[in-house]
């Protein structure tokens, strides 16, 4: 689809819905509920939200690992799910996802080099020599030398495993990489190293990232734009700086205020909003605004009507009946 480049943004998501069957017959878990957004080529699009809010499910749909229940995903204006099976398989190579747990992605019986070469072997691209060279190159991009390439997963550290994992995704020369909690399991010092690496790779290979995390600090650091998910819906979307400095949705406000700050007391932002109550059950979603059971600003209307998407300032969208235009 490289010819299609001019047709539209790299990624367009329109009214995406994904439902899973529940444990009992007839039960439905609406994991993703009417989600729409676009991602421009070369940008980093952050998705934040609590556990179970649907981030991973969206991420998997973006790279064609889950078929939408309703709605559409387009890559450069085209619907990949409309492609015939073989073409879809080819197409997928350009759209990769990296998961949190590097152990799950690396086969313990394969050397790091074999693991990184495997996607190329499966794709059957070029000669064995070429594939070997490409895999070594990919490892070099993530700063793993040939001596690391010969090791097995249990012989390297968590951070190095995550690097190998990234190399495995890069070897197919993707355009879009979905990163799902890729730094969550790492210590801050290694996390910083990885975030720098992601920035370098983006620059060198013109990558587009969808960066999923529940760590606000990470998302604020790396993203150009951010979407905030709550219970299967995007409740706020906007440029990272604006959203972090002046959040519009009560949930975003609560999230930001709950994040502890590593600064001396006199520099600390006062006025923490501690949300009461638990995240609701996905089998029994609240009516109206999904957030009304925990929202400190909820009004009777909120339990009845689902709030509409409103663009309160250029590029700043929010789904709350009472959110006000930022000044």
């Amino acid at each position: 689809m490289s010819e299609a480049r001019s047709v539209g943004p790299i990624l367009t998501v329109e009214n995406l819905e994904i439902a899973f069957p529940g444990r009992r017959r007839g039960q439905v878990i609406q994991a993703v509920d009417n989600v729409s957004f676009t991602v421009r080529q070369g940008e980093t699009f952050g998705i934040i939200g609590e556990s179970g809010s649907g981030k991973t499910t969206v991420g998997r749909a973006l790279v064609c690992l889950i078929r939408p229940t309703a709605g559409r995903i387009r890559h450069f204006g085209e619907d990949p799910f409309a492609l015939p099976a073989k073409a879809l398989r080819r197409h997928r190579r350009g759209y990769q996802i990296i998961f949190q747990d590097p152990n799950a992605a690396l086969d313990p019986r394969m050397t790091i080099l074999q693991s990184v070469r495997e996607p190329l072997d499966v794709a059957g691209a070029g000669t064995r020599r070429e594939r070997q060279r490409k895999a070594l190159e990919a490892l070099d991009h993530v700063a793993l030398g040939p001596e690391m390439a010969a090791r097995y997963p249990h012989e390297i550290s968590g951070g190095q495993k995550q690097r190998a994992n990234i190399a495995r995704a890069l070897v197919l020369e993707p355009r879009l990489v979905v990163c799902d909690e890729v730094v969550a399991a790492l210590d801050v010092s290694i996390q910083a190293e990885m975030l720098n690496l992601f920035a370098d790779l983006q620059r060198d290979f013109h990558l587009t990232y969808v960066f999923i995390t529940h760590d606000l600090r990470v998302v604020a650091h790396i993203s150009d734009r951010v979407a905030v998910m709550y219970f299967g819906k995007i409740v706020e979307l906007g440029p990272a700086t604006g959203l972090m400095n002046a959040p519009l949705h009560p949930y975003t406000k609560a999230l930001l205020s709950a994040e502890p700050e590593p600064v001396p007391a006199h520099m600390r932002n006062r006025g923490r909003i501690v949300l009461q109550g638990e995240v609701p059950s996905p089998l029994d979603p609240p009516t109206g605004c999904r957030f009304h059971t925990r929202c400190p600003l909820a009004q009777p209307l909120c339990a009845q009507r689902d709030p509409e998407w409103r663009e309160l300032a250029p590029g700043r969208l929010v789904a709350c009946h009472f959110a006000k235009t930022p000044n």
């Binding site: 609590e50 556990s51 550290s157 951070g159 210590d187 801050v188 010092s189 290694i190 996390q191 910083a192 190293e193 975030l195 720098n196 920035a199 529940h214 606000l216 600090r217 990470v218 604020a220 650091h221 790396i222 993203s223 990272a240 700086t241 972090m244 400095n245 609560a254 999230l255 709950a258 994040e259 502890p260 700050e261 590593p262 600064v263 001396p264 007391a265 520099m267 600390r268 923490r272 501690v274 949300l275 009461q276 638990e278 995240v279």
Partner: protein, 354 residues
């Protein structure tokens, strides 16, 4: 005592020897006094030291944080205090004085009187500490009955009260539930209720919110601190999240490679960390202030306990290392703080937010 000339000139800080064995423990009156704690594990090649002369104190009602990368010995320190180290292939030396009594010398029977009653503990993964086959109410009641002469009925009442005190809605109903029927946040609250039901003098919380979402983490932290204040329970709070410590503790201990490398008030540490490792941890946090900027990271990794550097253990990763760092470093007092770095006074390391 070793002291470099440069240090005296460039700083107003006063320096004195503070090797833990020099100080007078008996008169400190600290609630917990860990003295020269060493822990080793046996492997094929012999004994491997994991903790090296860990020494610190926790005062009554104080909240103390322990921070450090994974594998630096935070959890082992907690397990040592609780007497929960593996029985085989593990060697512990040093003193642990709790409320005036040396609990390091107590056997398992003695420790059972202390654990839960005098010292409570909350773990990262509450499922591993809760018994799946008993209701949470029964488990809390059982803890009460282990330590107090009360009727089953009264124990049950206290369990429900404890659940109410951690703000669980409908505590009586919750008491009848099994752990698997609770969310992560609720389980952690049950753990806190169980840890606090006997009103221990010290609560050790090892990564109590690491598995939780940030809004739930905020609830749990608020609860822990409020209960601590109300009952006068001291808190030893272990985390790798410096930001959490900044907001919740009065004092921090930084641990590196099985040693305490810095100890002092949180404010002082945030304004001017003394140890390059603490400064490195602070600097590697991504912030909201400079998005997309290059993050500073600490090069290298925590050394393997089987392959400790001979001099300063942080030396191979430290950008400030010089010839004096080839010597093993001692924990020295600097004003009201302690640090294990020969250059701590002369270096003026950047703190947080500045």
């Amino acid at each position: 005592m070793r002291q470099t000339g440069a240090a005296g000139k460039t700083s107003r800080m006063s320096v004195a020897a503070a090797e833990p064995s020099d100080s007078k423990h008996a008169t400190t009156g600290a609630l917990l006094d860990v003295r020269d704690l060493c822990v080793s594990f046996r492997d094929d090649a012999g004994w491997v030291p994991m903790l090296n002369n860990v020494a610190f104190q926790v005062n009554r009602g104080e909240t103390v944080g322990i921070v450090g990368e994974s594998g630096c010995g935070k959890s082992l320190t907690a397990l040592s205090i609780m007497g929960l180290l593996p029985r085989r292939g593990c060697l512990r030396t040093g003193g642990i004085v709790f409320d005036g009594c040396d609990i390091a010398g107590l056997g398992e029977r003695g420790m059972r009187q202390v654990r839960g009653r005098q010292i409570g503990m909350v773990f990262q993964e509450p499922m591993s500490a809760l018994d799946p086959v008993f209701t949470v109410g029964d488990q809390i009641a059982e803890t009460v009955r282990t330590h107090f002469q009360v009727s089953p009925r009264e124990a049950k009442e206290r369990a429900v009260e404890a659940l109410a005190s951690v703000r669980i809605p409908a505590p009586a109903a919750c008491a009848t539930l099994y752990p698997m029927n609770l969310s992560g946040g609720m389980r952690q609250r049950v753990m806190i209720a169980m840890a606090l039901v006997c009103e221990p003098k010290l609560l050790i919380a090892d990564e109590p919110t690491t598995a939780l979402d940030v809004t739930i983490q905020a609830q749990i932290m608020e609860l822990l601190l409020e209960l601590g204040r109300r009952t006068g329970t001291a808190l030893l709070f272990i985390t790798h999240n410096l930001a959490l410590i900044a907001e919740s503790c009065e004092r921090t201990l930084t641990m590196y490679a099985g040693e305490v490398v810095e100890d002092g008030s949180v404010e002082a540490m945030l304004n001017r960390p003394l140890h390059p490792y603490t400064a490195g941890l602070l600097a590697s946090l991504p912030g909201r202030r400079a998005p997309k900027s290059r993050l500073s990271s600490i090069p290298g990794r925590v050394p393997s306990p089987r392959d400790m550097p001979a001099g300063c253990r942080f030396g191979p990763r430290c950008t400030f290392a010089t010839a004096i760092c080839q010597e093993p470093q001692r924990l020295r007092a600097v004003d009201n703080r302690r640090v294990r770095c020969a250059r701590a006074v002369e270096l003026v390391l950047a703190g947080a937010g500045g």
